[in-house]
């Protein structure tokens, strides 16, 4: 009975830590889903751009001694700028009806960003600042890591800001119009290219926050983080349902909790295999994800 109780506490503790960290996956998932929603295309370079943004924020420390919060902000802004560059290079001149060509260009951009990071840092991990990493909130028998709580709150705040932008501003109105019917939106005088570019910047800023928060909670930044984050982001997007923002939020938290439980049960080497199995379960039983709508969307 005693053993069972200890085990139960450990697992629920893993779930809560995972839920908190899952907010970064939710942000990445939202980014993928936003771009898919407006353009019906996948941006494979998205997570790489987020990590690159975090690196850019870190690079700022080499010149000025800034507090961590400024580094986070710089990361988000840099990632937004990279998002714009990715749009121009990988999407702007690709025919609208050719999602596979855009897929290839963004995979190219993924490798390009990855390799540039590897060259700039000699592939060695770098320390990333964190906030509240010395705070521990104890609610016996549980304890909550202060930095993870901060990550969660930042994630929550970013989502609220995003929802505000989407539903209360003209930019959001244009974005939603383009994602619903881009030709009709064009007929109404909306500049589709401009709207798409703005969506990329918004998604990029969101990704930058996610990249910064991931690095802050792990404590280091490494080029090895881009591919796993890409795969996790894609999994979250698919499980949540392509194009669904609430779906991405729920799926992000779910994947975070799920992987953390398996981290506790099976160790770090096997953890990701179970996350992938979760994706397969969804592909077999609910290929359209939690909140996916149409059957034939691809």
């Amino acid at each position: 009975m005693e053993d069972f109780w200890v085990e139960f506490v450990e697992i629920t503790q893993s779930v809560s830590d995972g839920l908190l960290f899952g907010s970064t996956y939710a942000l990445i998932g939202i980014g993928f889903t936003l771009i898919f929603g407006t353009m019906r295309k996948l941006n494979m370079a998205y997570a790489a751009a987020s990590i690159a943004g975090a690196y850019a924020g870190l690079a700022m420390l080499a010149f000025v001694d800034a507090p961590a919060i400024i580094v986070f902000l710089a990361s988000a802004l840099a990632s937004g700028a990279i998002g714009y560059a990715v749009y121009v290079v990988c999407f702007r001149f690709i025919p609208v009806d050719n999602p596979l060509a855009a897929l290839m260009t963004t995979i190219g951009a993924l490798f390009f960003i990855d390799e540039v990071i590897i060259h700039a840092t000699n592939a060695s991990p770098m320390a990333y600042p964190a906030i509240f990493d010395d705070v521990m909130i104890d609610i016996p028998p549980y304890s909550v890591r202060g930095d993870l709580l901060f990550v969660f709150l930042v994630g929550l705040l970013s989502m609220l800001v995003l929802l505000f932008v989407l539903y209360r501003t003209r930019l959001g109105l244009a974005t939603r119009a383009v994602s619903q019917q881009n030709i009709a939106a064009q007929l109404c005088g909306i500049d589709v290219h401009k709207t798409n570019a703005q969506t990329f910047v918004v998604a990029g800023v969101l990704g930058g926050v996610a990249g910064a928060m991931t690095a802050a909670s792990v404590g280091v930044l490494s080029p090895l983080m881009t591919l796993p984050l890409t795969v996790k982001g894609l999994i979250v997007t698919v499980i949540g349902g392509l194009g669904s923002i609430p779906g991405a939020i729920v799926a992000g938290l779910m994947v975070g909790a799920f992987e953390n439980v398996f981290l506790y049960l099976r160790g770090v080497n096997e953890r990701d295999m179970y996350v992938l199995l979760l994706l397969f379960v969804f592909l077999v039983f609910r290929p359209n994800g939690i909140f996916g709508k149409s059957i034939d969307r691809d």
Partner: protein, 304 residues
């Protein structure tokens, strides 16, 4: 000389990899699972020759069949989704296979040496060729025997009803369905054939490289697999071969003096090519142009 033979082996193996993606691409589907099938073929054949002391040919066939079997298995759930969703599903499959071999440890002592896959340390000492005294040129010939066999098989298939069926599904699924084609059967068959071809490639790779580890089979390898047919176009198997020669022979070997910057260039090259030619270098228009140029030559010769 050995250097060029080694390069020929690499080109042959990557051609098999590209052709495995080519088959499924004919049906209009893009799969990044090829790295997974390649890994399954490599590890299966490697384990059979090293731990079970099989000779190369049965081990290679077994590797190809196991890879094909897994392609068949994942074909059903994966092909329920299409296009971009399939891309995500197949990336997930490749990653799963990679992580499986990352965790696989199967060590046995054979002839007083401990051999076999050693999880994070990789799978070393796959020395069938050198242990049995194969010369480099013999190995190269062995590799190219399979490359030519697969190319001939696919070339022939393309001219048979099977090729027409694959292309019909690729052109318009609705039209193909309405003339009575079973879409799932066609796609799963293409996936299986692709798996077998990738398995052969993987088995050859494991034995020519003598060392494999999970980092060989990342999304990068899967991207190479689809980049060849995309660059080479889908009009014939020779496009894929030309793309492999171009990328492996000219870009990667020819630019060796650039060192690690080659990898940066690879990303940029993909972006550039897809921006200029979204449907591949040898797209339908270019293929027609080439055909016309040759037709003109032939015509001239006829006149003279």
């Amino acid at each position: 000389m050995d250097y060029y033979l080694g390069l020929a082996q690499t080109i042959g193996i990557h051609t098999l990899l590209g052709l495995s993606a080519y088959v499924l691409m004919l049906t209009g589907q893009l799969s990044l699972a090829q790295a997974g099938f390649f890994a399954i073929g490599a590890y299966t054949a490697g384990i059979l020759t090293v731990l079970f002391q099989w000779t190369i040919l049965p081990a290679l066939v077994a590797g190809a069949l196991v890879a094909g079997f897994f392609a068949f298995l994942i074909g059903f759930p994966a092909l329920r989704v299409r296009g971009l969703m399939l891309v995500v599903a197949t990336i997930a499959f490749s990653e799963f296979v990679r992580l499986f071999f990352f965790n696989l440890s199967w060590r046995e002592t054979i002839d007083n040496v401990e051999v076999g896959p050693d999880s994070t340390q990789g799978f070393r000492e796959i020395r069938f060729f050198s242990a049995n005294g194969w010369e480099v040129w013999e190995v190269t010939l062995f590799v190219w025997f399979f490359v030519i066999a697969v190319m001939a098989g696919l070339w022939w298939m393309d001219r048979s009803r099977a090729g027409a069926v694959l292309r019909a599904v690729g052109e318009d699924e609705l039209a193909a369905q309405s003339v009575g084609l079973n879409l799932t059967a066609v796609k799963v068959a293409a996936m299986t054939v692709g798996g077998v071809i990738a398995g052969i490639g993987g088995a050859l790779y494991a034995h020519t490289a003598t060392y494999i580890d999970h980092l060989t089979f990342t999304v990068l390898l899967a991207t190479f697999a689809i980049a060849y047919p995309i660059l080479g176009g889908l009009s014939s198997v020779f496009g894929t071969l030309a793309a492999v020669v171009f990328i492996q022979g000219i870009l990667i070997e020819g630019l060796r003096f650039l060192g690690d910057w080659r990898n940066v260039l690879f990303g940029l090259l993909i972006i550039l090519v897809m921006n200029l030619k979204p449907r591949g270098i040898f797209d339908a228009r270019t293929a027609l142009l080439i055909k016309r140029i040759f037709a003109v030559h032939r015509g001239n010769r006829g006149d003279a």
